[in-house]
Amino acid sequence: MGRLLVQRFSLALVVLALVSLIVFVMVELLPGDAATAYLGRNATPEGLARVRVTLGLDRPAPERFLTWTGGLLRGDLGISLARQEPINGFLWMRLRNSLLLGIIAALVGFPLAIGLGIVAGLTRDRLPDLLLSTISLIGMSLPEFVTATLLIYFFSIKLRLFPAVTLVNPDAPLSELLPNIVLPTLTLIIVLTAYILRVVRTSIIEVIRSDYIRTARSKGLASLWVILRHALPNALLPTLTIAALTIAWLIGGLFVIESVFNYPGIGTLLLTAIHDRDLPLVQSIAVVMALIYVVANLGADLLTLMLNPRLRSPRTVG
């Protein structure tokens, strides 16, 4: 168990190091550098050279990479070119806003998806399952911006219940933000539930077909008890891993959803940064997003290990 933990943990570190290298190289490849992005059209050769020295761009790429990652390790993300202020000063508020969306969506979406997935799995090929499976198929087939647009049409334009766009400052207090997050969160919940529901349904169907459930049933145990005590824990294990993997596209979906609702999160910040060619900001956001993904997966791995006795035994650890 201990060895496995160390292994998983060091793998996560390797992945993070590679991510920062990939991001650095990709941004390095972008035409022009931070100095041209900074000076824009008014750039003179002398001006460019001066800015390059101030920004440290005259030094070789490997050295700059080490300086940058060194800063990352100390929690220093550098300075935004477009805003002329430390990235640390505004990035975390944006991240808080995005996490607010994501966490509320996960808190509502996961239990909902698990509950509905169990219902669908237990009523396989009968009416409730057909209904739920169809709805979830539609939910996962619609692009996020389509779902969002349809929600805006019904809830903002027809029913006038919630605002269609967010018009608050990024650092507004939570109370001011809350009415604005209803529709973006709902979009995220729909997409999330559609996917997880199908995963839960499949693993429930697999589990109730298995020998040990048949054994439990033939021992005369009540159906509901068999499901709660024996089927559910085993069916939920794969869901956990998949839930962590969905974090990656959850974050990806955030770009689009935030952009539709003009929500002041990390997704819209990244779109602005790419538009402004604010390279240090692009790099920072990419690394922060990858960090969230890696930590979520590590967490799911550890949780799976703790919950699954078969993976805990020393023999399989090898």
Binding site: L11, V14, V15, L16, L18, V19, L21, I22, V23, M26, V27, L29, L30, P31, S136, L137, I138, M140, S141, L142, P143, E144, F145, V146, T149, L150, I152, Y153, I157, Y195, R198, V199, R201, T202, S203, I242, L245, T246, A248, W249, I251, G252, F255, V256, S259, V260, L270, L271, I274, R277, V282, I285, A286, M289, A290, Y293, V294, N297
Partner: protein, 303 residues
């Protein structure tokens, strides 16, 4: 000695495959038994036919402005109404799928080919190369897909070729993992060992022994990737990193007509209906294919 090996080779090969029939034929038989799969196939074929026929049947010029009919509601003259510039929505919706279908079909083919071959090869060669490439794959998959696509778009522009290569590259990375895991299941089976023992070169083993056995999984994988690539492509055009503006494209049409959603909902709804039915069709097809090869993953994981 040699005959003994070749006899065992054919014997184990028959275990690995269904006797007498190609695996693709079996998949087709399975697909035909699934009503939802046939519905999906029909939807997809209808979309492809419409996209191919569109230039010859559309009633208007897709970029022609009709200043007398701006935001006109659906009527006999404009069946789907017009958008905020007075362009015919029916014409633009019919033409709007062409680039999406072209990019995602070629892109999916590309992704499955390079990701599949590399994944199979990695499973066979194993060792340090396998380890290194897989860590790189992990790292790329740890970044949000859209972020990489946006960087590629700002790096190389948004030509159709760039979009195909970018999507094909990125989706292929995820295929590597699947193809490798699939191949690991049978890479140590007798028929592979026999081919190796007979001195078959690496290329022959990969193409003749491993690839045919991974083909059905790759096909299902391709259908799933296709639906996700359509989602990614439409998100890119919606965000303005896809097709350039005057070209009719569903994602772009939705993005441009969203601000007149209250006044002229038809300009948004018809492209929404088009893209949604296409992706629903692809998903139905993918689900039925997965079932046909006994791999019901319930829609799969978007990795």
């Amino acid at each position: 000695m040699l005959t003994a090996i070749s006899i065992s080779l054919t014997a184990t090969k028959q275990v690995a495959k269904q006797p007498g029939q190609s695996p693709l034929w079996d998949i087709w038989l399975g697909l035909r038994r699934s009503p939802s799969g046939m519905v999906g196939l029909c939807i997809v074929l209808l979309h492809i036919c419409l996209a191919v026929a569109a230039p010859y049947v559309v009633p208007y010029d897709p970029v022609e402005f009709d200043t007398d009919a701006i935001r006109a509601a659906p009527s006999a003259e404009h069946l789907f109404g017009t958008d905020k510039l007075g362009r015919d929505v029916l014409t633009r919706t019919l033409l709007g799928g062409r680039i999406a279908l072209l990019v995602t079909i070629v892109g999916t083919g590309l992704a499955i080919t390079w990701g599949g071959l590399l994944g199979i090869t990695l499973a066979y060669v194993a060792g340090i190369v396998d380890e290194l490439v897989m860590r790189l794959v992990d790292a790329i998959l740890a970044l949000p897909r859209l972020l990489i696509l946006l960087l590629i778009a700002s790096l190389f522009g948004t030509d159709t070729g760039v979009l195909i290569l970018g999507l094909g590259f990125l989706f292929g990375v995820a295929v590597i993992r699947i193809a490798r895991a699939t191949t690991l299941d049978f890479v140590a089976r007798d028929f592979v060992l026999a081919a190796y023992a007979m001195g078959a070169p690496r290329r022959t083993i990969i193409f003749r022994e491993l690839l045919p056995n991974a083909l059905d999984i790759l096909l299902v994988e391709g259908a799933l990737r296709w639906s996700w690539m359509l989602l990614a492509f439409s998100a890119l055009s919606f965000l303005g990193f896809g097709v350039a503006p005057p070209t009719p494209d569903w994602g772009l049409m939705i993005a441009n007509s969203r601000d007149i959603l209250a006044l002229a909902p038809w300009a948004t709804f018809f492209p929404i209906a088009a893209i949604s039915t296409l992706i629903i069709g692809v998903n139905l097809l993918a689900g039925a294919l997965a079932k046909a090869i006994g791999l019901d993953r319930g829609g799969g994981v978007r990795v």
